[in-house]
Amino acid sequence: MADQEMRQVFARLLEQAMEEDLRIITIDADLAKANATFSLREKFPGRALDVGIAEQNMASIAAGMTSYGFRPWIGTFCCFVSRMADQILLSVGYAGRNVKIVGTDPGITAEINGGTHMGVADVSMMRGIPEMTIYEATDAVQLQMAMPQILAYEGPMYIRLARRQVPTVWDASMKFDLWKAQILRPGKDVTIVANGIMVAEALEAAELLAAQGIEAEVIDVHTVKPLDTETVCASIRKTGAVVTCENANILGGLYSAVCEAAAQYSPARILPIGIRDRFGEVGRLPYLKETMGMTAQHIVQAALQAKEIKN
């Protein structure tokens, strides 16, 4: 599975879900080819819709369809999820509808589509919507384990997915709990909290730190809302030094969530890695990671600094 694109894996899981549950329908907004959900149309005539390039319409149509017991999954790029802000807030969120919102090409993974297509505000926007659950898949293995739990959850959820291949860090023998952060590597000196494509980067940073005799604890916070405060704060209490790593604006996303929790339960110095309140730009991933300060090296530097401040 490691050699498969996230969108392919996702589309297959969705197909399986649609076979098993006739209430599940999908709606796209002209990006089904980009998101690999196009083939669902042939397999499930009438249950895989495309409203055209009309994201706002899509969100509220999905909310309406729940009235007859349907469980809609709607999809677009992360950048255009922000476009549905009010529709998700009211038609989906306030009305308490079981609509699954899938955003693809998160943050810098939009690469060559450039700054206009880099979702930097989607996570902050979604976190501001009461009752919204936000899950970001770390890799294909994890996504596969997450899917049954996502399907079982009856409420609005934002699912953030890379479209292409991402490094595999999970293995099928691990236990996945949608509502629990996962400690991927135990350590006592510094806590590195990460999600999405930044988890692999964080693990690489932990290796580099180990070479310097520093034991980093790496936690995968795949579900940034609701945050698993218990796991995160217990680690912070232990290490007293924290770095958060996310592929989104650090304002309002993982960094904010961890700071908010720590401020209440386990005060510490916390340093952010991620998109530092700036817009995206065009480029390939290695270039963008470097430009935005999102490489393993940057995490190492931040971890050392966090430890320094603590001491």
Partner: protein, 273 residues
């Protein structure tokens, strides 16, 4: 339009297509189909109709163009380069790290881009704002915006049209690139915004339908828009996605975003040079 002028603009449109394709081939892939379909309209606007000063791109009294279907950036850049906004070899930097030419035009990177676009449906509203502002300041400059036919599925497009007609923005001209395709296939099969002419006129626009690959027809329609003192004008450009290169045209909707390698470029060259 004089026959020689028409031939000249046709030649310009070919050069725009070539410039766009060459730029895309440098990155390896990009929005080919929708770039090629607007080349003739861009040729007429930049080389015949718009009041602009390429050497002074921020000149206050310039006419404005908002490419609402922002993904046709490569064609816009090719037109601007040829018109002298920047050196033609900048086209080779399309989507390169640190470029001034990202696939979707960015007004903060490149003077001459009147509005940053890329999220469909927004540009036309920005053009409405410009038209309102031009009138408010007593400027006689004119505002043009190009929208995709698929883009017209966005509700915002119709909000913009409604307010433009309501406000009698005679200085605004909306050009619709009616190439009948979007990413998922035929616009008519996905969610049909047609009939454009009837809908636009019901919204209060003067509507002119033209062959979007005939510079003379496009230009005449713009002349008529300029002469209309009652209503804003919409020009429906009947176009072909991928126009000008047969193997690209044949791919139909699959040419929306496609790879262009050096072999493809050589093949295209036969028809464009």
């Amino acid at each position: 339009m004089e026959a020689t002028k028409k031939i000249e603009l046709q030649e310009t449109a070919r050069a725009i297509r070539w410039g766009a394709l060459r730029a895309i081939s440098n990155v390896g892939s990009g929005h080919v189909g929708g770039s090629l379909s607007v080349a003739d309209a861009l040729a007429v606007l930049y080389f015949h109709q718009m009041r602009i000063r390429p050497e002074e791109p921020l000149w206050a009294e310039r006419d404005r163009l908002v490419l609402s279907k922002g993904h046709a950036g490569p064609a816009l850049y090719a037109a601007m380069a040829r018109r002298g906004y920047f050196p033609e070899d900048w086209l080779d930097t399309l989507n390169a790290p640190g470029t001034k030419l990202p696939g979707h035009g960015d007004m903060r990177l490149l003077p001459g881009i009147d509005m940053s676009t890329g999220s469909l449906g927004q540009g036309i509203s920005c053009a409405v704002g410009m038209a309102l502002a031009a009138r408010l300041t007593g400027s006689d400059s004119r505002i043009y915006t190009i929208v995709g036919d698929g883009e017209c599925q966005e509700g915002q497009v119709w909000e913009a049209l409604m307010y433009a007609a309501h406000s009698k923005l005679t200085n605004l001209t909306v050009l619709v690139d009616y190439n009948r395709m979007q990413i998922s296939g035929q616009v008519a099969d996905v969610c049909d915004p047609a009939p454009f002419a009837e809908k636009f006129s019901a919204f209060g626009f003067a509507v002119i339908e033209v062959d979007g690959h005939d510079p003379a027809e496009i230009s005449d329609a713009i002349d008529a828009a300029k002469a209309n003192t009652e209503r804003p004008t919409a020009i429906i450009l009947h176009t072909k996605k991928g126009k000008g290169v047969s193997f690209i045209e044949k791919k139909m909707a699959a040419n929306h975003s496609m790879r262009i390698d050096s072999g493809d470029l050589r093949m295209a060259k036969k028809e464009l040079r």
